[in-house]
């Protein structure tokens, strides 16, 4: 188990967005969280990556607690030093990538390893070049984000998120900015990461993409998980009205 979420609650301005979310993600597993926009999918991702603090709940990242119950009903977060260790285990690819426009492709990838985690320049650069080669971007190492296509930017974002060898890779709507013909490419890239043992968490409302790539599906509505099952089960016998209306 590389990620475990238990009893996660979050409200914004008293409006509950997440209501008791529980799930696990295994090594090498591809888990897709499906649902309409606005049902709290992205909030889950933001909680796991500590971009927002949850109100209550336990998030365990590769045997380390990002947040947990202190035994008196309060949710406490990891201390900064431990938080940094947890960040190392997590990679996040944003929906709009959020590359640093003033840094080259290579600069984007090596920035955090060198300046945050103190890895030597040479080591960080070698690792970055390996990643770029794997993602077929070696010739773009010295380009700047504005010179890249959407698909290329996404691969740079993946490389940046992979730079510290995370155990978990989160992708927020990975197909939303891509032309249909690029979907297969990103699907096989994600599968390769999973084969290396990374746990993959994909947030999407793209049914066909989930069908193509996921091992397991979580379906969400109104801040709750209303179905969790294998992909086969999900797509073969749809008994829930809300899922039916979502798919059709």
């Amino acid at each position: 188990m590389v990620l475990k979420v238990q009893g996660l609650y979050k409200s914004f301005k008293r409006k509950p967005v997440l209501k008791n979310i529980n799930f696990e993600l295994g090594q090498g597993e591809i888990l897709a969280i499906l649902g309409r926009s606005g049902v709290g999918k992205t909030t889950i991702l933001r909680c796991i990556n500590n971009l927002v603090k949850c109100d209550r709940g336990i998030i365990n990242v590769d045997q380390m607690y990002l947040c947990k119950d202190d035994g008196e009903g309060n949710t406490v977060y990891a201390k900064p030093q431990q938080m940094l260790q947890i960040r190392k285990k997590l990679g996040l690819v944003f929906q709009n990538f959020n590359l640093f426009p003033h840094m080259s492709v290579l600069g984007n990838i090596v920035e955090a390893p060198i300046n945050v985690f103190g890895i030597s320049k040479k080591e960080a650069k070698d690792r970055a070049m390996d990643l770029l080669e794997m993602l077929e971007l070696s010739d773009k190492a010295n380009s700047y984000p504005f010179e890249l296509s959407g698909g290329q930017k996404q691969r740079v974002a993946i490389a940046r998120a992979c730079a510290l060898n995370p155990k978990i890779m989160c992708l927020d709507e990975p197909t939303s900015a891509l032309d249909p013909e690029l979907r297969e490419g990103i699907a096989s890239t994600i599968e390769n990461l999973a084969k290396d043992g990374m746990g993959i968490l994909i947030i999407t409302h793209d049914m066909n993409f989930a069908k193509r790539i996921a091992h397991r599906i979580i379906f969400m509505d109104e801040g709750q998980i209303i179905k969790e099952c294998s992909k086969e089960e999900f797509f073969n016998n749809i008994d829930n009205e809300r899922i039916k209306s979502f798919i059709s």
């Binding site: 971009l51 996040l92 944003f94 709009n96 959020n98 640093f100 300046n115 945050v116 984000p145």
Partner: protein
């Protein structure tokens, strides 16, 4: 004619020397202070924000000339005295830092919030996020506005005459009165034009340097 201009030059150059000293000292001190003003203005600490807003309001809401007079002639009344030059520099720096602060704030605010998210997931501290991610992008955004402000500054330096400092314009005016001639004023004008042209060229180069990203 040339001979007359050459005779004027020593006095004008000594005036230019004061002008440039005021100009560079103000720039060197007010730009970093302006960054602090912007950061204070954007902080989440309410009293600090209110204080910075008050400061900006006063500095932009009253004439720079008044501020110089206030520091040099006003403050001694309550027992705070400055020499002419430090008094002028103090007023200039406080005034220009307010303007730069507002320009920098606009620049910082126009940067996509996703940049902060990206920095945070990569483990950046807030300080590193600012210096490595936000500041370089801000500089590119604010360059044209800063160029404007800097060109205004070179001309504003003429205000230090009020505390009796002999800057460029004052030197020209003295010569013009003494010789009943228009020439010193024209020469002074040419000096300012050349300075402005040089500054414009420098900022053009800077903008080119920052054009490597979008």
């Amino acid at each position: 004619m040339m001979e007359y201009i050459l005779r004027l030059l020593p006095a004008l150059l000594s005036g230019l020397d004061t002008t440039l000293k005021v100009f560079f000292l103000t720039l060197i001190l007010s730009i970093p202070l302006g960054v602090l003003v912007a950061v204070g203005r954007l902080s989440k600490i309410k009293p600090l924000v209110a204080l910075v807003e008050l400061y900006i309001w006063v500095m932009r809401g009253t004439p720079l000339l008044l501020q110089i007079i206030f520091v040099f002639f006003g403050l001694p009344i309550v027992g705070i005295t400055f020499d002419r030059f430090p008094a002028a520099i103090l007023a200039f720096v406080l005034n220009y830092a307010a303007y730069f602060g507002e320009i920098f704030r606009g620049g910082i605010e126009s940067i996509d919030k996703g940049q902060y998210d990206a920095a945070k997931v990569l483990g950046f501290t807030p300080a590193k996020t600012f210096t490595r991610i936000i500041l370089p992008q801000m500089i590119k955004i604010v360059l044209p506005s800063v160029a404007n402000e800097v060109i205004t500054l070179i001309k504003d330096t003429s205000l230090v005459y009020v505390v009796g400092l002999g800057e460029l314009l004052r030197a020209g005016k003295i010569a013009s009165n003494r010789d009943v001639s228009l020439v010193p004023l024209v020469v002074v004008g040419v000096f300012y034009l050349v300075l402005t042209a040089v500054l414009t060229a420098i900022f053009q180069k800077l903008e080119e340097k920052y054009s490597y990203f979008q």
